[in-house]
């Protein structure tokens, strides 16, 4: 029973039962691998392969759902292998994207209340998640961590977990990347709109529920709205899309409450600008390029 198929480009493919194909393009997080995943899954989508019902890109891997009653999933592997061959390393390093500002109350009282309830599941029960994350990243105070986290942009590289969840990788060079482990055992509760950080990724939890990321703040504006659609939610109940770039703007409690009132009345206006993300420009000058992107915010 051969479990794995290795493609010529090194990607490792295997079956997830009779309905899924999983392809690991890389194991380390790397934006070049992410853009390759986007290029591959775009090509797979465009090929409109019969039997494939879902194309699911992740940070450095992707997954397909197949209807085996339409097509034997084993017949799809050679098609994928061919697409991997065609999409060689010189595939384009740009994507059409948006820049979206999210107003964040770092160190908010609601996340604090929840994280204190789950200290027994945390690496360091005597600190808060933010104190712990600051310390292990070499900062002397939470405010330094908040500065590092909020002063640079974050790009959505995986739309997974739950609807509206966008796991974002920070647009800084590798020596400035923040990292933190996930909880030892996941929490059974997280406030909706909580800002979480785990591995090298940030996300705004779309709804209340379980979670394993370090809790560092809360967004005043939602990323998922099924019940009372307003603004962007009139078009789609989910705000973020893969490749979106987020600016987490620190706010204080007064502004948080003001934005909550606007959200409740459906009058809050998201600041969203259209941009093209170019990996080579980012690599040449990470700081300058981030400022260029930021300038696209209305």
């Amino acid at each position: 029973m051969s479990t794995y198929t290795k493609f010529l480009d090194g990607a490792l493919a295997s079956f997830g039962g009779d309905e899924y194909i999983f392809v690991e393009v890389a194991t380390d997080m790397d934006l070049e691998a992410t853009l390759r995943v986007i290029a591959l899954t775009d090509a797979i989508g465009a090929a409109d392969i019969s039997g494939v019902t879902d194309v699911c890109p992740a940070h450095v891997s992707y997954m397909l759902r197949v209807d085996p009653d339409v097509r034997d999933p084993r017949d799809i592997l050679p098609i994928l292998e061919e697409i991997h061959k065609q999409k060689t390393q010189d595939s384009k390093l740009t994507i059409d994207s948006r820049i979206i500002e999210m107003p964040i109350l770092y160190q908010d009282p609601w996340s604090h209340e929840v994280l204190m309830r789950f200290r027994d599941r945390h690496q360091d029960p005597t600190s808060t998640d933010l104190e712990y994350s600051a310390r292990i990243n070499g900062f002397t105070s939470p405010s330094e961590f908040i500065d590092a986290h909020s002063s640079r942009l974050h790009i959505a590289t995986f739309m997974g977990f739950m609807p509206g969840n966008a796991e974002c990788y920070q647009l800084v060079s590798s020596e400035f990347q923040l990292q933190a482990p996930k909880y030892v055992r996941p929490r059974t509760d997280t406030p909706d709109r909580a800002l979480g950080f785990g591995g090298a990724f940030s996300t705004i939890y779309p709804v209340q529920g379980a979670g394993g990321f370090q809790l560092i703040g809360r967004s005043a504006a939602p990323v998922y709205e099924a019940k009372k659609p307003f603004g962007p939610f009139e078009v789609d109940i989910v705000l973020p899309k893969g490749g979106d770039i987020f600016r987490y703007r620190p706010i204080d409690m007064a502004e948080y409450e003001d934005i909550r009132t606007q959200v409740d009345s459906g009058t809050y206006i998201y600041r969203i600008g259209m941009v093209e993300f170019d990996l080579s420009k980012f690599r040449e000058n990470p700081i300058g390029y981030s400022q260029t992107l930021m300038a696209a915010l209305p």
Binding site: M1, T3, Y4, S14, F15, G16, G17, D18, E19, Y20, F22, E24, T27, D28, M29, T53, D54, C56, A58, H59, V60, S61, Y62, M63, R65, P68, D69, D72, P73, F158, M159, G160, F161, M162, P163, G164, E167, Y169, S174, Q177, Q179, P181, K182, V184, R185, P186, G198, G199, A200, F201, V207, G209, G212, Y224, A226, K227, I237, V238, K241, G242
Partner: protein, 327 residues
């Protein structure tokens, strides 16, 4: 119309699931035991894609406000209409004003209640299935409450379908306290050390009390992972990977200390190594299991997985013809 007198423990509207949105974080949802759900629809003359009610441990009390045909499949439970016991896996006539009631299940977990015409709730993104966590689909995106009124679609039964038809035993699903559950190894299975790869498919695991539509936690044996330098962005535990897609039915082992099998309301991705995937036919069986029942995972090839799927498809087709030879 059907009036919910008592909702039962956790009853939702489900169908065959929401297809095409997994890539943006929407699980398929749908009936946990798809076979029993399909059969309930066939019995009442519905297409198998019609919406049914899924119950959990304790079913609802429902008052019918129109004549029709009802069928209950899945878990072994005592059910009555106006106090008189009715058989499971059978097409039963129901009259306006009659009340269908449940007592607790004696084997299995979930019952499927199909009503001729099918439950009529608004289709959201191509499905009537309820996804409670995101308040999506089904009846107002939630579990049923007392006083809810469910509409039924127009009764499209062909004249050939008949009341009283009973599904023969060999086409029923009988939940028991131990099942062999077949998996296709793959995904990040290569991260398990050899001893743990063998342990996974040789030793029994116990369904824990944390077992719901999102996932089943199973306990039993500590699994260990091969030693490696953790990839950048994965996290420090050997069971951590850079977050990736989770198939429905996939098994993961956070810190190696317990297994989680994702079910129809799966989180679509996360950061724990996935070890293999329960085949679709056996996911129906697992959905009928509960604490402290046990499973033995058995590794099978894609040939076997697809063969068993084809067998089930033939069973369903055979049943349709038994009931309605003209179809």
């Amino acid at each position: 119309m059907i009036r919910v007198v008592q909702p039962g423990l956790y009853s939702t509207v489900q169908d065959r699931g929401r297809i095409g949105y997994y890539g943006v974080g929407f699980p398929p949802s749908g009936s946990m035991d798809q076979y029993s759900s399909d059969v309930s629809n066939i019995l009442v003359g519905n297409p198998i894609g019609a919406a049914v009610l899924e119950t959990t441990f304790v079913g609802p009390t429902l008052e019918f406000e129109r004549d029709g045909c009802v069928a209950v499949t899945g878990a072994t439970a005592d059910i009555t209409i106006d106090g008189t016991e009715i058989p499971l896996w059978t097409a039963v006539q129901v009259k306006k004003g009659q009340v269908l009631a449940f007592r607790a299940v004696s084997a299995g977990v979930r019952n499927y209640i199909a009503i001729s015409g099918g439950i009529d709730v608004q289709s959201v993104m191509g499905s009537r299935s309820t996804y409670v966590a995101s308040q999506l689909g089904g009846f107002e995106g939630r579990v049923l409450k007392p006083g809810d009124v469910l509409e039924a679609c127009a009764d499209g039964r062909s004249s050939a379908s008949k009341f009283g038809f009973e599904v023969p035993d060999h086409l029923r699903l009988f939940p028991s306290a131990h099942h062999n559950i077949r998996i296709v190894p793959g995904l990040c299975n290569y991260l398990l050390d050899e001893e743990s790869q063998n342990l996974l498919t040789s030793e029994p695991f116990t369904v824990s009390t944390e077992a719901n539509r999102t996932g089943y936690r199973l306990t039993g044996h500590q699994l260990s992972f091969v030693e490696r330098e953790q990839p950048f962005g994965a996290g420090s535990d050997p069971s951590n990977v850079v977050n990736l897609g989770y198939p429905v039915g996939s098994l993961q082992a956070p810190s190696g200390s317990e297994l989680i099998c994702l079910m129809r309301d799966a989180v679509t991705g996360g950061g724990y190594a996935t070890l293999g995937t329960v085949i679709s036919v056996d996911l129906d069986i697992l959905a009928q299991m509960k604490f402290p029942e046990t499973v033995a995972f058995e590794a099978v090839s894609m040939d076997v997985a697809l063969g068993l799927r084809a067998d089930r498809r033939e069973k369903v087709r055979g049943l349709v013809q038994m009931i309605d030879p003209v179809k």
